[in-house]
């Protein structure tokens, strides 16, 4: 069975290390915060100007001045700090954020990512995505392996306008875990009940199966 969104998030959460500063994008990446392993302390960065993002506020305690990059009301935690948007992206560009997790519409075998624009559709803008992918030192993409039409989103080359080039290092899809290497996609893990054949069939870009490929634990 392909993973559901929660399971993708849960698997990505296993990549978190104690002390990591992490930026989680909108969608599946946001869910990662719910599965941070015990004993692992991470600090969540919200690019609108906060380190140490806490959970949603209790009803009645929402504060219009305290939101995340998805414009959701949130809270702080002990040790949180606020700063302006230039410093926020400054720390991202300077490589101080250890891990960025974001969604994608397409990823190419050389690590290009497209996730902001579909020709002929209303363009909403790239927000902070281009800054994040251009500068983050460690990017994991959380995504469905195929689009609603069943077409692979892991491609030889992106067909959509790019968000960034040669920047994605790892993908966790509903079908498995993949490194993005100089030699294309490398399947490290497959979702429980998903076959290597299915992964091969649904991956259009160059794919290698790791010698020690294993079933994912989620």
């Amino acid at each position: 069975m392909p993973l559901n969104k929660e399971q993708i998030a849960k698997r990505i959460a296993q990549e978190l290390q104690d002390g990591f500063y992490v930026n989680l994008g909108i969608g599946i990446p946001t869910l990662v915060a719910n599965y941070i392993p015990e004993g692992v302390n991470v600090v969540l960065q919200s690019e609108n100007g906060l380190l140490g993002m806490g959970p949603f506020p209790f009803e009645g305690e929402e504060d219009a001045d305290l939101i995340n990059a998805g414009k959701q009301t949130i809270t702080t935690l002990p040790g949180s700090s606020f700063f302006d948007s230039a410093m926020s992206f400054g720390m991202i560009r300077a490589g101080k954020v250890d891990l960025t997790v974001l969604g994608a519409m397409e990823v190419s075998e050389n690590g290009d990512i497209a996730n902001w624009k579909i020709p002929k559709k209303m363009v909403k803008g790239m927000g902070g995505a281009m800054d994040l992918v251009a500068a983050a030192k460690n990017i994991i993409v959380a995504m469905q392996h195929t689009n609603p039409k069943g077409e692979s989103k892991l491609l030889p080359k992106c067909s959509l306008p790019l968000t960034g080039v040669n920047c994605v290092r790892k993908i966790v899809s509903d079908l498995g875990v993949f490194d993005v290497t100089a030699d294309g996609f490398v399947c490290l893990e497959y979702a429980p009940g998903v076959t290597i054949e299915e992964i091969k069939a649904k991956t259009a870009g160059k794919l290698t199966i790791a010698a020690d490929v294993k079933e994912m634990t989620v």
Partner: protein, 232 residues
Amino acid sequence: MNKVVANADEAVRDIPAGATLMLGGFGLCGIPENCIASLVKKGINNLTCISNNAGVDGFGIGLLLENKQVKKMISSYVGENAEFERQLLSGELEVELVPQGTLATRCMATGYGMPAVFLQAGYGTEVQEGKEVREFNGKHYLLEMAFDSDFAIVKAWKGDKMGNLVFKDTARNFNPLMAMAGKITIAEVEELVEPGEIDPNHIHTPGIYVHRIFQGKDYEKRIEQRTVRQRG
């Protein structure tokens, strides 16, 4: 030295049609509600607005859009506004999309007297078009120009009569950057105090950057995505 004006109408009195304005805020958080209302009342059009977002229908910069006052938006994300979409598709409105960090840093560059900055965002994408690309230490950067804006309009939590500003929580966002970048900077604050009432170590924007200041009123501070958890 008198920077204090009575209200938003007085603060925006001389903003002409065709002006380039910076407007602080992220989404609806930390936006200069009073000044936007006065700009709507004033009705000046052909504005170029530099702002991370374009408000929502019926609030924030959305009000200026509905009133057809905006010629061009320079933003990173404009997806919350149906009227925006309509005007864009009909060709009434121009939009220049800028990566969020680039937008912020181009504001800062202006306030810090730097004519241009090298930034990685957008390399290899359509954002690169027409821009100089340069390699430093094996990485590629785009040369991005500082903004040139006539007025910067920001919203702070507290301010004093010398123009010193303090922002609250994530309502800081673009506000201090734009405050530095206006040829004329207008600050509306929730509470205007006497000089000396704010600890000089807590000031985010020194008054030298602020030309006009007033205490705003009737802040709605609308929440875009009200997310809560249940008490357990």
